[in-house]
């Protein structure tokens, strides 16, 4: 089984922006997990406290991505950070709402708004 790169990381002040790329449905879980370690290392780096998941480049995600986001959120909340989500499609919003994760991670229209909100 191959593990293609499915997440891109961008630092923005004290926030790590995570941009899922391509397919991140339930079959991409292995690729997501393979990059989780890198993500948590970056979070441990000085100054990075918050996380924003920017879904601009994908139309949907499934339970695997939710699981990965939850794992990241545990790191973020332990360090007193905040996590948010932005640029979601109609279907992605429904996935977050039906799983109730929208109660943990606020949804914003743009990356700029999300980064500003978690950095407050």
């Amino acid at each position: 089984m191959s593990t293609p790169k499915v997440l891109e990381f961008i630092s923005d002040g004290s926030t790590l922006v995570v941009v899922p790329l391509g397919r991140v449905g339930s079959l991409a879980g292995e690729g997501v997990i393979a990059q989780l370690e890198e993500l948590t290392k970056r979070l441990g780096a000085s100054g990075l406290k918050h996380v924003v998941f920017d879904f601009e480049k994908v139309d949907y995600f499934g339970s695997s991505m939710l699981g990965a986001m939850h794992a990241v959120w545990k790191h973020v909340s332990t360090a007193d950070g905040k996590m948010a989500v932005c640029n979601v499609s109609e279907v992605e919003r429904e996935v977050l709402q039906v799983s109730r994760f929208d109660t943990l991670w606020p949804i914003y229209a743009s990356r700029q708004e999300a980064v500003a909100a978690v950095s407050e």
Binding site: R23, S26, I33, Y60, G62, S63, G67, V91, E94
Partner: protein
């Protein structure tokens, strides 16, 4: 006779193209002076093919290609490229142009290129008409435990649903999410018997176990059985595995805040949310997913031509 709309702001180039193509009595030539003029003519009556310059005032060739591709997907566009417009030509090809001919080779290549593109376009139109005549699609798959086969299977089912005009794009994505969850369950939890509790860890133990089991018996010989029945009223997809089954009623409610940390049940929650109905057999190794037609989507009508 095939109609060809020639789009060029240069009257000299229009005459040149006209002179080259008028020898072919099978072509009915129309002319437009830029993209905006071309679009007005296409809206009035769609030609069989558009042959366009790239650099023009009002609306350039790139915008014209994108607009035609979006609004008239069965009308192919051929580009005429000049030295210096190569980058724009690449963008236009990415936007959906069917082919291109450098202007300095028009006399030797244009007629053949038009003939080839028209022949391909004719086949695509016939295929589109044939698919529009589809009333029911039934097929059965037996998949190895290979996740790489699942994406193409979902695309195949989504395409058949599109031929029967069951849903809009957004609904098609929802069906795709539900099918992906169901197929991933059949593969990983059903046939390979990998417990979803392993997914709660942050390491790759879940995927490593799946990889190991996919190579040994009894897991290796197990198959995913997929029956697809799509009509003008609904899509019924039955997905079975050769695993021991499970009791879906014993899954934790993933919407209960106390269970937010648990990976179990999220996939089935999404399946229930995005399909009209899902039901399991008694053993719990076969799930039937049903999606009724979107009320706003009418059955396809046969095209006249």
């Amino acid at each position: 006779m095939a109609s060809v709309l020639v789009v060029d702001d240069s009257s000299v180039d229009r005459r040149l193209v006209g002179g080259l193509l008028e020898k072919d009595s099978e072509l009915d030539l129309w002319y437009a002076v830029d993209g905006a003029d071309a679009l007005a003519k296409i809206e009035e009556s769609a030609p069989d093919l558009v042959l366009t310059d790239l650099v023009m005032p009002e609306m350039d060739g790139l915008t014209l290609v994108a607009t035609v591709k979006n609004r008239f997907p069965l009308v192919p566009v051929i580009l005429m490229t000049s030295k210096g417009s190569e980058e724009l030509a690449v963008q236009a090809l990415q936007a959906g142009a069917a082919s291109y001919v450098p202007k300095h080779t028009l006399s030797s290549r244009l007629a053949d290129t038009i003939r080839n593109v028209l022949a391909l376009s004719q086949r695509q139109r016939c295929h589109s008409r044939l698919m529009g005549s589809m009333v029911r699609a039934n097929c059965t798959f037996e998949l190895e435990n290979d996740a790489a086969l699942i994406g193409p299977l979902i695309s195949y089912i989504q395409e058949d649903c599109a031929h029967l005009n069951l849903y809009d794009d957004s609904e098609s994505t929802r069906v795709g999410v539900a099918l992906e969850e169901a197929l991933a369950n059949a593969l990983y939890h059903g046939n390979l018997e990998v417990d979803s509790a392993l997914r709660e860890s942050e390491d790759s133990s879940y995927w490593q176990l799946a990889e190991e089991r996919s190579k040994v018996e009894p897991y290796k010989s197990r198959r995913i059985h997929v029956d697809v029945a799509i009509s003008r009223d609904d899509a019924v997809i039955t997905i079975g595995d050769d695993g021991p089954g499970f009791d879906p009623s014993k899954l934790p409610d993933p919407t209960d805040p106390a269970n937010l940390e648990m990976a179990s049940g999220r996939g089935i929650l999404l399946m229930r949310t995005f399909m009209t109905e899902i039901r399991y057999n008694e053993k719990g190794n076969v799930v039937t997913l049903i999606k009724r037609r979107n009320p706003g989507n009418n059955p396809p009508e046969s095209e006249g031509s």
